[in-house]
């Protein structure tokens, strides 16, 4: 018996206070570099919970697929231009950069990420007036970038699964894809497998874009986006995606069906 994050889970259970103290300084080095690259000297607000919040498990049950939820408050919903999700200590820190269409009432975005080791995870939103807001969370994990592919048997590359929430106000979209980080090991050669990952995902309603995301290897296998709204989500909703081998995937959901629509 053994599970990859068990040791870290237990470490956390023993010493949460220590981690809390260590958090800001230990991640600041990585973050300062990323901040300079993406946001220069612009001020970033970190206070107003009514504007935005970020939820991530303090110690992730599955480091290779850790759910992270970004929620926008009433002050922000419909006014967010861009949200970037950054995992400070991952080999590839930027998990996704998402452009949101203004006026589109998305209140919540959930992504699944790989977490290679204990790190800050942060979401930085740019509002329509140009102001920046950031929320972060500390996640304990180990090995999320080198863990084996899941053994789930069903589904083939490019399958798309839409899973609407019971209240009709949430929709989860998953693309069957290895989203291979390149840090996994080829069992035959012992070499690192070259990355094969989803570069871009776009969700649209008819011709109106809801969410347009540049994605990377820090998204989990079978890249999954879940959006939620105060309003009912109505089909048809279409996912378009393209990966690093320039393969294109597309599938459409109609509200009436829990579609198992195929891709490509």
């Amino acid at each position: 018996m053994m599970n990859r994050n068990l040791a870290m889970l237990l470490l956390l259970a023993v010493a949460p206070a220590v981690y809390a103290d260590v958090t800001p300084s230990s991640s600041s080095g990585a973050w300062q570099g990323l901040r300079a690259t993406y946001y220069g000297n612009k001020e970033i607000g970190e206070v107003d919970e009514k504007l935005m919040s970020l939820a991530a498990p303090a110690s992730t049950p599955d480091p290779s697929a850790t759910p992270v939820t970004i929620r926008f408050g009433t002050q922000a919903a419909g006014k967010v231009k861009q949200v970037r999700l950054i995992i400070d200590h991952n080999p590839s820190p930027v998990a996704a950069t998402m452009q949101l269409e203004q006026g589109v009432p998305i209140d919540e975005i959930e992504l699944r990420i790989r977490v290679d080791r204990a790190t800050s995870v942060r979401a930085i939103a740019e509002l329509d007036d140009g102001t920046l807001e950031m929320r972060s969370a500390w996640v304990n994990a180990s090995g999320g970038c080198s863990s084996p592919p899941s053994a789930a048997g069903a589904g083939a590359l490019g399958d798309v699964r839409f899973r609407p929430g019971a209240d009709g106000k949430a929709l989860q979209v998953s693309l069957r894809h290895p989203n291979n980080s390149g840090f996994q090991i080829d069992p035959i050669s012992g070499d690192a497998i070259p990355p094969h990952y989803v570069l871009h995902m776009r969700l649209r309603s008819g011709e109106q874009t809801l969410l347009d995301a540049d994605t990377g290897i820090s998204l989990a296998e079978n890249p999954t986006v879940r959006i939620a709204s105060e309003q009912s989500l109505k089909g048809p909703l279409t996912l378009e995606a393209v990966d690093s081998k320039n393969e294109r995937y597309e599938a459409t959901w109609n509200s009436a069906t829990t579609a198992k629509s195929g891709g490509r």
Partner: protein, 329 residues
């Protein structure tokens, strides 16, 4: 290590200690272990029970993976024929592997011809290196080599202290005899039937059945007392349990927990837990719940938690793995 093992083998105290509740038992082990650090690496033998004629088991302790003694949590042991010895799993450190080897030498002078690993997990394989000088064939599931290659960096980073210093990748010994489906090994008047399973607990589970004594060595396809940990496929695991239930086994050696003599009884709690888990996750999926909101599945806790040791170390992990398996149904 040696001091601990002597402690556990001194029978009056061992009896008393193993009868108290698990937390006290853990405390006993940890307290004693703090003195064990200075013990020489010279191979002190692990405690061994003969659970069937010629079948020897060292009982792993029900400790978390980061506790002192975490390298000694799996059931490991050996089976003796008239020609040679087969080792089944080698423990979570080279030190434990060496202590198992010393225990073998107390019972037989026959050579070790096979070292069989039931799967990739660290607590079952890191002792392999202690047997290299015996030049056995290392036997495992056809996927074991790949799984070990994937785990190499992880083992070296997280379990460096369980290797001989300095920790190095060459101490992770993979199989040179691979089992794709079934394979029979002859120890001399004793045949072992190996069976490789589709993804279940891991993607490289192997079981061993000794027809002579009717002993089934399940590896981690059977957890008793300790919460099962799911890495590969809950559906696959339940199918494997179904199949294993048909084996006419008189003695069952689980990967963790007590040796049993009633196959259906031994598997019942694990099967129940996995079935409840699958049913609960399916209910959450049908409700459109995200991986973050698997409320029904986590509530399995209410009914099952009291039945298992180390619940918090694995239940949420199991829920997450089952969710990702079943969401593509």
């Amino acid at each position: 290590m040696g001091i601990v093992l002597r402690f556990w083998s001194s029978s009056p105290r061992r009896t008393r200690c193993s009868l108290v509740v698990s937390s006290l038992r853990t405390l006993c082990a940890i307290t004693v272990l703090s003195f064990a650090g200075q013990a020489a690496a010279a191979a002190e033998a692990v405690t061994i029970d003969q659970v069937a004629p010629g079948v020897f088991v060292h009982a792993g302790k029900q400790l978390p993976l980061d506790a002192p003694g975490h390298d000694d949590i799996a059931n490991i042991g050996f089976i003796v024929g008239t020609r040679c010895v087969a080792v089944i799993d080698t423990g979570g450190s080279v030190r434990i592997g060496r202590a198992l080897r010393a225990a073998i030498r107390q019972h037989t002078a026959l050579p070790v011809c096979y070292v069989i690993n039931t799967h990739v997990h660290v607590d079952h394989v890191l002792g392999n290196a202690a047997f290299r000088d015996d030049k056995p064939q290392f036997v495992g599931h056809a996927q074991l080599g790949a799984a070990l290659a994937r785990s190499r960096a992880f083992f070296l980073r997280e379990f460096a202290g369980d290797f001989d210093a300095p920790a190095s990748a060459d101490q992770i010994v993979g199989p040179d005899l691979e089992v794709k489906d079934v394979l029979e090994l002859d120890l001399g008047d004793r045949k072992l039937k190996m069976r490789a399973w589709p993804p279940a607990h891991t993607d490289c589970d192997l079981t061993v059945f000794d027809e002579t004594s009717g002993t089934l060595w399940t590896g981690d396809l059977l957890f008793r007392e300790r919460i099962p940990v799911l890495d590969a496929s809950a559906i696959g695991w339940l199918s494997a349990i179904e199949e294993l239930g048909k084996i006419p086994a008189k003695t069952i050696v689980p990967g963790h927990g007590k040796v049993g003599h009633d196959l259906a009884f031994a598997f019942a709690p694990e099967r129940r837990y996995l079935q409840i888990l699958v049913t609960a996750v399916r209910a959450d999926l049908a409700e459109g719940k995200s991986l973050n909101e698997v409320a029904v599945a986590m509530q399995v806790a209410a009914a099952e938690k009291s039945h298992w040791l180390l619940w918090d170390s694995a239940h949420a992990h199991n829920v997450a793995r089952v969710y990702q398996e079943l969401e593509w149904e």
